[in-house]
């Protein structure tokens, strides 16, 4: 497929390792594809045969419930054969290196390898060692591009375009791969991004990603969207913040801080009563459930674009959908 804006970036869309692999048009193309998959998801038979006979390997070196199940479901709805390998069952515990593991998995001739790793750059390395398309499902604190895509998808469905929308990302930005991919994706889609959190948890130099930094939530009312990050308990032990109590007092997003016009997002899983209050989580402004729902269709779109997208047009999905109906 010729890139919509003629850029070179997308001609090489062989892997999704970083949001930087996509320009705005590339993001929009994937999300438009996801919209058409959402229509399929509304049907009784939710499967399309797009990846029938092809193998998708999910290789997770880190605990994950929603990302791994979402990728698994996405691949299955595209009729791929799916092999899911968890860190506890993988050879990593036997001292086999990532490179050896990839060499072993390559014997299955996978069309795609979805990898989550506690280490930045793991997906890039895997892409060097395999002919399969590689999807980064989270690498260390570096990136989580499919999360960013599903977040943009969720916001687009609600707001239309993100242009000039003000998005605040609140919390532990230092340790968050979601924050990095989101900043990049939101900025690329035209939004104005502010990050806010304890100064100990805002990385020096983060402005270079195109966002501004606010040390307090005093101006939170400016935001159209409040995106709250997970606050992990171990950060207290590492002395990044003096206490959970103080963190909550200064940075918890709750009904008192949230304005009625604002949308609330969170990548999950939520620490109820820490970064978000229960009333905020359960408010109609919260898009948390929609984010989870978007995960499957957006990951279907990513796999489709990587494995079946080249040379096809949007109508392929309609055809695939029609075939699904015929199969039914």
């Amino acid at each position: 497929m010729t890139p919509l804006d003629g850029s070179r970036r997308d001609e090489a869309f062989r892997h999704l390792l970083s949001i930087d692999d996509l320009d705005r048009a590339g993001i929009e193309r994937i999300l438009d594809r996801a919209v058409s998959f959402a229509e399929v998801a509304g049907r009784e038979i939710k499967k399309v045969p797009a990846l029938r006979g092809r193998t998708v390997v999910n290789l997770f070196y880190e605990a994950s419930t929603r990302t791994s199940s979402s990728f698994e479901l996405a691949a299955k709805r595209l009729s791929a054969d799916v092999v899911s390998i968890r860190a506890t069952t993988s050879s990593a515990t036997k001292g086999e290196s990532l490179k050896d593991e990839i060499a072993t998995l390559t014997a299955y001739d996978p069309a795609a390898i979805v990898i989550r790793s506690p280490h930045a750059g793991a997906a890039q390395l895997v892409a060097r060692w395999t002919d399969a398309a590689v999807v980064n499902a989270g690498d260390g604190k570096h990136e989580h591009p499919t999360q960013a895509l599903l977040d943009v998808y969720t916001l687009r469905r609600r707001l239309g375009a993100l242009d000039e929308k003000r998005i605040w990302i609140v919390g532990d930005v230092l340790h968050s791969r979601v924050a990095r991919s989101d900043i990049l994706a939101f900025v690329r889609m035209g939004a104005e991004v502010t990050v806010s959190g304890p100064p100990t948890l805002i990385p020096r130099g983060i402005e270079a990603l195109g966002c501004t930094v606010a040390p307090t939530l005093d101006r939170l009312e400016e935001a159209d969207v409040v995106y709250v990050l997970r606050m992990q308990n171990e950060r207290m032990n590492e002395a990044y913040v003096p206490s959970l109590r103080e963190y909550t007092a200064r940075y918890q997003v709750n009904a008192a801080r949230l304005r009625p016009h604002q949308l609330l997002m969170h990548p999950g899983p939520v620490n109820r009563g820490v970064e978000l209050s229960a009333d905020a989580i359960d408010s109609p402004q919260a898009l948390i459930a929609q984010q989870v729902e978007a995960g499957v269709v957006v990951r279907m779109a990513v796999l489709y674009e990587l494995l079946a997208g080249s040379g096809t047009s949007g109508s392929a999905v309609a055809e695939a959908g029609a075939e699904a109906v015929a199969l039914a």
Partner: protein, 446 residues
Amino acid sequence: MSVARLFHAPAAAAQLLIRGAHALDPRGELDAPHDVLVRDGAIAELGASGTLPAPDGADVVEGEGLHLFPAFFDPHVHLRTPGQEHKETLASGTAAAAAGGYCGIVAMPNTAPALDSAPLLRALCEQAAREARVPVGFMPAITRGLAGSELTEMAELRDAGALGFTDDGRPVVAAGMLRRALQYQRLCGGVLALHEEDPSLSGQGVMHEGAVSARLGMAGIPSISESTMVARDAAIAAYEQARVHFQHLSCVESVEALAAWKASGARVSGEVSPHHLTLTDEAVRSLDSRFKMNPPLRTEADRQALIAGLRDGTIECVATDHAPHARHEKEVPFEEAPMGVTGLETAFPVLYTDLVLPGVLPLALVVERMTAGAAVLDLPTPRIAVGEPANLALLDLAAEWEVGGRGYASKSANSCFEGRTLHGVVRLTVAAGLLAHREATVEALA
């Protein structure tokens, strides 16, 4: 009684006539094509190009179009012996040095076990006297096991041949511990070379802290981790009137601290690596572990400050911090990879290509700084002058080569310059009067 502090394998003293090479001794008048006669391993005669006859039995090397420098001296390399011989050995590391134009290198003590006792030092000196292609000196640890809590037997180590002392790879964290070592230096002599880093500031850092680490989500090592320790230890050295040398400086603030303490009369010196002079943390965006080293690559402003410091002499010398690692050890995600890059076989070509050719630094200055490490450790400086021992590097500055992923004299290939095309090929190295390296093309000419 003088104690031997450099060790190399025996070989026949060189008998050599190098004809017509452009001889450059940055500390003297010599900067023109000359004939250089080496007899019995010493520089016997210097003559105008084409004037010296070849004595019987001397090798004649046609040097026209080539450059002849005093061979380089590296005060900071890792030879991984004992304990990690799969990365490097005394034989392979000194062969790499010879291939890089060096006539002397100094091995760091962070081996397994650490070099912290006289018996181990004696064993290494003996091994070097059997295996080393170029003279190698050893710097044992300041503290036992590099643990920072007890002094090594520095006086006995000095008697056994220690060039100086260092805990390289680690800082001496406790100021009081360093002070004791510096007091003890009055008894035994020997420069203390310091790896400066405050672990409470470095934390789990794997690269320079800045915009690139923020983008990559990797824990950063801030510049102040190094510079605060340089300032602290220079102050302690000044107070004790002791002699310290700061290893592998990487940032603006360290250069400023070094300059300020020098100006106030402290006996301090510094070194900088070719990679810190030519690369920045932008290279880490590739997430390639070949750009992982400690101290990390920093910003362009830091790089410029290091170049300026080398130019004005605040930083005395270039040191490679040659740190070999096996391929499989580096072929892992960046955060998991060990720190360090090789450097002996690329040092001069990198500096020549990236700093001399673009006119950033004069050739003579680079040659001076690549030989100055000897004097920093109280060793004689390699010179091209009659009567001096022959320590010579013959280079073809016009020749280009591509830095590859293999094919080194070193056992390891973790070069951060892989893929670069560099100018400058070492054709021949004479170290301590012995022919240490000879490239095949020179052989054909001879």
